[in-house]
């Protein structure tokens, strides 16, 4: 059994977790071309090395960040998402006619 340490629930079986892919900052959709939006949707770094990822402990629905090596599957660090996403992201709609 592989163990992952949840920042909220402590060490748990990895089968209780769901990986949601690499944690990347979302580009501002208001000034993004269609091609850039397609890049953001589909392209992946798919790096071989240490990657920062979104993980969720499904029974408690707690989302956090994990740093994992994609070559060895070693989980190096797990921490709450606010340590990575320090600033509040607002998705305001552009004003009509602006």
């Amino acid at each position: 059994m592989k163990i992952m340490t949840c920042p909220l629930n402590g060490p748990r079986n990895i089968s209780e977790f769901h990986c949601a892919g690499e944690a990347v900052l979302q580009p501002d959709p208001r000034d993004l071309s269609d091609a850039d939006w397609a890049d953001h949707l589909f392209l992946a770094n798919n790096s071989l090395g240490v990657v920062r990822e979104w993980w969720c402990h499904t029974p408690s629905s707690y989302w956090f960040i994990a740093e994992r090596h994609t070559g060895s599957d070693e989980i190096l660090k797990t921490y709450p998402a606010n340590e990575f996403f320090r600033e509040r992201v607002d998705f305001d709609a552009r004003e009509e006619g602006a």
Binding site: M1, H18, G21, A38, A44, N46, L48, G71, S72
Partner: protein, 437 residues
């Protein structure tokens, strides 16, 4: 002694299917059986050091890379071809797949493409003079929900329209095709219907790569093992050379066919791909008496089973739950695969496992490959083969060779171009993988 050898060759002769026996083979076999000495016949010529330049350098000596080298050298007259691999010949996913050959896809683009592959496979042993042990035994996919039955109906109609052998079958017909299958009616998700694809086939996966390699080498293609691509050298927007641990090699055209490592290579060439790498695990049991002729798979149970000509049962299923570049095996996935297989064939519960392994699959968002042009000129992609690469080996080799020789995408590859992700023209094959992921 000679008589014993003669009997031995007759025994071999009897094992061959009637279709493949020709008068020429009978004499060749008799001659071989009566020979006094048996010298091993080397299949491969070992290349000397890397030359400073080639017309085409192919990165990845798996089935796809070697097939591309074969069609380039045998059909397009391009003999200055070098295939490099950081490991050994056909040691990646070519050695790790479950040898399923089929064309029962859902979009006409894919059906046409994979149909050509099945047709090439059918004649491949003759074409390469190398026995692929190709047997067209049919593939049966099971539906456990109404939604799956609806997709099966669509796949059957698309397949018939494109000229493949495929039909929707009911429970009674399923029982006739695979009498050993356990199909209780009182079950949380009973088998409702099946998709019967008589064109479905299997073959010896290693032989496919070895055959292509041997016939490509006959024409002067060089294969360099333990030669790792470390950097793609560019001049402006054009790729001109590959730096390896054995020296730099210049190339008119470069092809990357590296499956799970597609993103790593693309990064060297300076671009990103819509690919994520996941391990795919599989295993075989100890050999059993032949009992299972067709290949059986179930999208609902995430499992597929077939019996090899040696009698082993090959069991495969869905990919791992998260991205990884490691070929380790996990108990979780093995447990679920075995559980689902035993649900289909309960009498296998006491059979022992012989081997287990994993391959690294390069999954695309639409479950279709990425072939042809890349953002770098003279740098060609044969990537995104996820869990469906083996069955496409001949057609991808043939069409990639055509693409590189003419420096132009053939029409059949157009739907699979990388640029489809910019224009949102995805070729959605998610419903048509043997076990949905």
């Amino acid at each position: 002694m000679t008589l014993r050898r003669l009997f031995a060759s007759i025994a071999v002769f009897r094992l061959l299917s009637r279709k493949t026996i020709s008068a020429v083979m009978v004499f060749a076999l008799l001659k071989y059986g009566l020979k006094g000495r048996y010298r091993p016949r080397p299949d491969f010529r070992h290349a000397a050091d890397l030359k400073p330049s080639y017309d085409v350098v192919i990165i990845g000596a798996g089935g796809h890379g070697l097939a591309t080298a074969y069609y380039l050298s045998n059909y397009h007259g391009i003999r200055s071809v070098c295939v490099i691999d950081k490991g050994y010949l056909a040691g990646g996913n070519t050695a790790r797949n479950t040898a399923v050959i089929r064309s029962n896809y859902i979009t006409p683009e894919s059906v046409r493409f994979y149909k050509e592959s099945v047709e090439l496979y059918r004649d491949l042993s003759d074409e390469l003079d190398y026995n692929m042990l190709f047997t067209q035994r049919g593939q049966l996919t099971l539906a456990h929900s109404d939604a799956t039955v609806r997709t099966f109906r669509m796949r059957a109609e698309v397949g018939k329209h494109c000229g493949t052998n495929i039909e929707l079958v009911d429970r009674k017909q399923i029982r006739e095709i695979v009498p050993q299958l356990h199909m209780p009616e009182e079950h949380r998700s009973p088998v409702l219907a099946g998709l019967w694809h008589p064109d479905g086939a299997t073959g010896r996966h290693d032989a496919v790569a070895w055959g292509y390699a041997a016939r490509a080498m006959d024409k002067g293609v060089e294969v360099h093992q333990r030669t790792e691509a470390q950097c793609i050298v560019k001049e402006g927007d054009r790729a001109v050379a590959v730096e390896t641990n054995c020296g730099t090699v210049h190339a008119g055209n470069i092809v990357q066919a590296v499956a799970g490592y597609s993103s790593v290579l693309a990064k060297m060439a300076g671009f990103r791909l819509p690919i994520r790498s996941y391990p795919l695990q599989a295993m075989v049991t100890q050999p059993l008496k032949p009992f299972l002729d067709p290949l059986v798979s179930s999208a609902g149970l995430h499992a597929y089973v077939s019996q090899t000509s040696r009698g082993e049962l090959v069991i495969g299923g869905g990919s791992d739950p998260y991205e990884l570049y490691s070929t380790r095996s996990t108990l979780d996935l093995k447990e679920s695969l075995i559980g689902h297989t035993v649900e289909l064939f309960p009498f296998l519960a006491r059979v022992r496992l012989l081997r287990q392994w994993a391959g690294i699959t390069d999954m695309t968002p639409d479950y279709s490959p990425i072939m042809g042009e890349s953002p770098v000129r003279n740098y060609w992609l044969d990537a995104g083969w996820g869990t469906w690469g083996f069955k496409a080996t001949p057609v991808s080799g043939k069409r990639m060779a055509e693409c590189v020789a003419n420096e132009k995408m053939p029409a059949i590859l157009e739907p699979f171009r990388l640029a489809r992700f910019k224009t949102f023209d995805l070729v959605n094959e998610m419903g048509a993988t043997a076990a949905s992921h």
